[in-house]
């Protein structure tokens, strides 16, 4: 949500620079390229930290440690992003230039990440869930890309 808000504010500042039509076309093209790469099973390698937050952080204090872990992972300061769809979402938020949209998209992103452990719990067999996930991750990413394309089409073209 923090990153989403910042991206929303950044988009607002970008909107003040003018050339709205050109910027919009460029950003929509970026979203199209990113989502299509996922759809085709050849996800783009976009800039990211590629570092994990140390588990030892959680042990530091009752609240401070887990909070720092969540902030660092959620904001992308230290995390892996195997799919470029997060970048696509960031471009979509920047396109609106609305921090509130950033908060919503950020909350949804957190919800999507939470679905990984929650789905494992609901499945009743976490090991099997993880094995299936690793086998089907490209298919899962394709479905998620279709979802993001549909939302982008409705919001920005429809």
């Amino acid at each position: 949500m923090l990153t989403g808000t910042l991206v929303g504010v950044f988009g607002g500042l970008l909107a003040a620079t003018g050339a709205a039509d050109f910027r919009r076309a460029l950003m929509l093209a970026a979203v199209a390229v990113i989502t299509t790469s996922s759809l085709l099973g050849r996800p783009l390698q976009l800039p990211q930290k590629k570092r994990l937050v140390g588990q030892d952080i959680i042990a530091r204090g009752n609240l401070g440690g887990p909070f720092q872990f969540g902030v660092e992972m959620g904001s992308g300061v230290r995390t892996y992003l195997p799919s470029p769809l997060a970048h696509g979402l960031a471009v979509m938020v920047a396109l609106t230039g609305d921090p509130f949209v950033g908060i919503l998209a950020g909350a949804g992103f957190g919800l999507g990440r939470w679905l990984l452990p929650a789905g494992g719990e609901w499945s009743g067999d976490y090991e099997r869930w993880e094995t299936t996930l690793l086998e089907k991750i490209r298919g899962v990413e394709r479905l998620c890309a279709v979802g993001l394309i549909a939302v982008a089409a409705v919001l920005f073209i429809g």
Binding site: Y80, P82, A86, L89, G106, G112, G119, L148
Partner: protein, 68 residues
């Protein structure tokens, strides 16, 4: 006189949760929100818009599930 129904037949059907099904559920949610936004009543527009952004975030977030 009818035969009693075996207890086993009354067991509820349990749908197995898989990553692919979760992804389909997100996609279905996106389709529902989009339909509500495009064809729903005016009162539905704001909640549908909020729902669409949440679903967009959830799509991008769940796609990261292969991260170490």
């Amino acid at each position: 006189m009818t035969e009693p129904v075996p207890a086993a037949s009354a067991r509820p059907v349990r749908v197995r949760v898989t990553p692919t099904r979760v992804a389909w559920a997100i996609l279905l949610a996106a389709a529902l929100m989009a339909t509500a936004l495009l064809f729903g009543a005016d009162q539905l527009r704001a909640p549908a818009l909020i729902g669409l952004w949440l679903v967009a975030g959830a799509s991008a977030g769940f796609a990261q599930s292969g991260s170490p």
